[in-house]
Symmetry: C2
Subunit: 234 residues, 2 copies
Amino acid sequence: MSKFYGIGAGPGDSSLLTIKAVETLKKLDIIYTPKAKKSRKSLALTIVEEYLKKDLEIKQRHFPMNFNIKEKNQIWDDIAQEIVDDVKKGKNVGFITLGDPMIYSTYEYLLTRIKNKVKVETIPGITSFTNIASNQNFPLVMDKETLVVVPCTTDEEKIDFVLQNYNSIVLMKVYKNFKTIIEKIKKYGLTKYSILVSNSSLNEEKVFRNIENVNSDQISYFSTILINKKQEIV
Amino acid sequence: MSKFYGIGAGPGDSSLLTIKAVETLKKLDIIYTPKAKKSRKSLALTIVEEYLKKDLEIKQRHFPMNFNIKEKNQIWDDIAQEIVDDVKKGKNVGFITLGDPMIYSTYEYLLTRIKNKVKVETIPGITSFTNIASNQNFPLVMDKETLVVVPCTTDEEKIDFVLQNYNSIVLMKVYKNFKTIIEKIKKYGLTKYSILVSNSSLNEEKVFRNIENVNSDQISYFSTILINKKQEIV
């Protein structure tokens, strides 16, 4: 029976796909991906392409990011309807997301529109922050500690609260207000417990174990800071 | 060159191992696992065993849980030393953890003792909570929301604070004070945004989409509640 599959592609390295993801990729008839910029393939597609059927159909669609809400909803409605139609025609349809489909992924926009219409199966993926932690041999959270994952696009006071009150912290999307974030980390005496990684698991990955003197022009849009107040960086 | 490998085995289903984990398992000469209770194999070993070398040596060791700190440290020191000796003899040594090695895993006790003595490589794994979210087609966190993962063995006031102040919440280890946790979820009006899963990805997995009337005798020690205040359970 045909299905819509949401597949977590992990952080960028094809070997971090799960066996289940690979088995699922091999079954797909159609894959939806974001329309590539400047004739480059999408990163998600690059990760999975060695496992795709030769005659797979790739449907590149424009996924809205900064549109107004009404326009955005209309575009997602249209893509969701197209996927539902494909599945009803007996096709196995896939949507590939970086990292995990349930953690900060646009897959949600499709899932909520599709899940009551056709059969949907979601395959988890390795998240970027657990991959960074493993690559750096950096234990993120233990025992009774709480783990807090904060996108730094949120309100500053929320970031301050988390930095002051929790032990194990992942700061995502630190690029935009990078200087402010570094100042906060210094202010709360956390520089020695912080690792900054730019472009995790891509070719240009950079790791900064001394974050105090890093400038925003040294890092990419995909940059993350891990903090564990019980793990001093040496 | 020989190494110590910490390998995330994921939540229980062998197909949720990554390709990298499988490739690494095939290289191992020795594996350390917790001493099995009642002559059963450890769950982590069951997940990975189809990928192990035929002549692999399995070293079952007693991993301390409830000892006093001094005794506990001594036991971990001894196991770490044994692993270091094995690696120095040219063996590839593996330690398998459920879920991800950097998220609530005893692997930390070995890693911190070993990483400056021999080469260590850590392979991430699918965490139980992202797997539950995918299995249930339940988006955990989106956009600017913070994701908070709380072991319910922590102080009650911390659990209260998280339930009141964050959108996306994973409550781990809910078994011990289950009744209290359910009361809190009711008190804050969150029952309709909560899913409870017992024994995720094991044979006896149970899912409760209406948590109000669940008793602790219906669930196992491995039970988790996912909450997303923007995802009403239907």
